[in-house]
């Protein structure tokens, strides 16, 4: 389905995840974050950049991966994206929801 955010039309699935990453830009990210009740800070962008790096390298995302990333620890990750950090961070980053159980 289509959705308007930050004056951009984006394509999303029923859970609100973008289905076409080429439609993503920083303003879209800010808009998606607001809908999740998150005001983006530099630390949030550090995480989004890391997620984009992993996505481009086709590497799976996991909580263990966050711990090993050297970008931030798990506690901060939960503080930055409360209520399901990996789910929320990937939604804001415009990539599919991770399928991992860990």
């Amino acid at each position: 389905m289509k959705k308007n955010i930050a004056q951009t039309e984006i394509e999303v699935n029923e859970e609100g995840y973008m289905t076409d990453f080429s439609q993503w830009n920083k303003e879209v990210g800010v808009g998606l974050a607001k809908e999740q009740g998150i005001d983006m800070t530099d630390r949030h962008w550090d995480v989004i950049n890391y997620i984009h790096d992993m996505y481009k390298k086709d590497e799976p995302l996991s909580i263990r991966g966050i711990k090993k990333s050297g970008i931030l620890d798990i506690k901060e990750f939960y503080d930055l994206f409360p209520g399901g950090p990996l789910k929320k961070a990937t939604l804001i980053a415009g990539i599919p929801k991770p399928k991992s159980c860990i």
Partner: protein, 157 residues
């Protein structure tokens, strides 16, 4: 996703690797979905939070029909260790952390870890034997009080 499940309380009473991982994966999975989670370690489950024992847990090869091996074979020396080694290898492939690291992840994720007072007394353990991440030692009454919220579920493993 929105769910009516707000809090998951796990009671882990066994120390076999497959049960410990079931509790850990589900407790961590809850946190990742924005659900609160806590684990109450009791009886043999206490082995999973004893510093000296937690990295030496085994899968059960005897009395476990899903191992598809004759019970007598499962009881031979070394068979349990071999099965455990093989399972750990498979889990590593899936990027499953070892028990100690998994406990750190759970604690950092906000999952509360509790030890059962009665079982601690029964096995003559002290706080020093247990992991540093432990949130405390509770009676079963204390634990039930933590379930006193709408949307809380208890699961015995």
């Amino acid at each position: 996703m929105s769910t009516k499940v707000k809090k998951m309380l796990f009671i882990l009473s066994k120390a076999t690797l497959e049960n410990v991982y079931a509790a850990f994966v589900m407790a961590n999975g809850a946190r990742m979905e924005g659900i609160e989670s806590e684990i109450f370690f009791t009886f043999f489950g206490l082995e999973a939070i004893q510093k000296k024992k937690l990295e030496h847990l085994h899968v059960a090869t005897v009395g476990n029909p899903a191992m598809h091996m004759p019970t007598m074979l499962g009881g031979l020396p070394g068979v349990e260790a071999l099965a455990t080694k093989m399972m750990k290898k498979e889990m590593e492939k899936l990027d499953m952390p070892p028990v100690g690291e998994f406990l750190e992840i759970l604690s950092d994720s906000g999952c509360k870890l509790w030890a059962c007072k009665l079982a601690i007394d029964m096995f003559h353990l002290s706080k020093e034997d247990l992991i540093d991440e432990l949130d405390g030692i509770l009676t079963i009454g204390d634990f039930y009080n933590r379930a006193n919220e709408e949307g809380t579920h208890l699961l015995f493993i």
